[in-house]
Symmetry: C2
Subunit: 170 residues, 2 copies
DNA sequence: TTAACTGCAAACACTTTGCATAGAT
DNA sequence: ATCTATGCAAAGTGTTTGCAGTTAA
């Protein structure tokens, strides 16, 4: 049973996950995905969170608003969102997946990550110029030609040691 | 007990993991790391393997040469090697870590990854020109200045669908 | 009305840890 | 002689799955 039902639907468009070429949006499109209160709460929580929360961080916050929700529901929805492209999953090296809304509003420019190998802090950066975009485009075209991959996205991550961890060791 | 002892030490230089500024190399440097038969076999196996094997793939091959070795030993050594920088760990998105010798010989040029979101196949590519190197350098300098990170390395990954998985879905 | 979704708990897969023993230096 | 590494098994951790009941459409 859903323990809490006071959230209203948002204008969330969820692409159909099962068939291609079918009506692409939720709700009532015949592709199966339904908007429920727990799912609604998950969207809401993700929108409210900053950074790259882990599943348990999301779950903790979620439970404040929606006490009865189960962890499995969160996992199932995150996977659904990921496969729909609404959310991206990211492994910072500590074994826990971290999630992030792909577009909090309307594609605010993609960013990349700067990860501390020691404490797993993650910094976003988005200092890309045309230069980067050109290079990436070039690489993509090359990869498509050479390997016949349909490239959908990319990820650039720098690893290192954050100021805190540097001074700790020094 | 070590069940197999017919491997000889190699000229593997393992950086000390515990203190900085101390004698940096193994063996007999006082930093604690010792070369043992199982460890030797792990090095050897990694050298022999292509691609980005998972732990169980490494373990399977390892057992052929060194039947008595324990899985925990492999994990412990991979972590040691990773922290020493001899090996890099990489998550392709299927939840299993994949390992790769950082330098099979003498830094043969780093490569990046092209990952299939569907079957998790990984292709290496190394088509980087000066262009890329310059861009990356520029970004690194920027990141160091702005965030005070000591950047040690980076990773560029393209995601998409491989030819096999594309045709399967079509 | 029916097919999707949920919560719970049990199962899972991968990794880490405790401990007594073996081994490198 | 000392202190690290090993193998085994048990514990841990994060994630997935089976199921009976609930709910969106």
């Amino acid at each position: 049973m859903y323990n809490d039902n006071h959230y209203q639907y948002k204008d969330v468009k969820m692409r159909c996950q099962r068939a291609k070429g079918q009506g692409p949006f939720w709700p009532s499109n015949g592709c199966g995905a339904r908007m429920t209160a727990p799912r609604q709460a998950i969207f809401r929580t993700l929108h409210e969170m900053e950074g790259h929360p882990t599943v348990d961080e999301i779950f903790a916050k979620l439970r404040l608003q929606f006490p009865g929700i189960g962890l499995a529901t969160l996992y199932r929805n995150l996977e659904l969102l990921r496969s729909n492209g609404h959310v991206s999953a990211f492994d910072s090296g500590d074994g826990k997946l971290r999630y992030e809304l792909r577009q909090k509003a309307e594609r605010p420019g993609h960013h990349h990550h700067l990860v501390c190998r020691s404490c797993h802090q993650i910094i976003d950066y988005m200092n890309f110029e045309n230069e980067e975009l050109e290079l990436v485009k070039k690489l993509e075209v090359h990869l498509v030609q050479k390997y016949k991959y349909q490239v959908t996205d990319h990820d650039i991550t720098f690893y290192g040691t954050c100021p805190n961890c540097s001074t700790e060791r020094a």
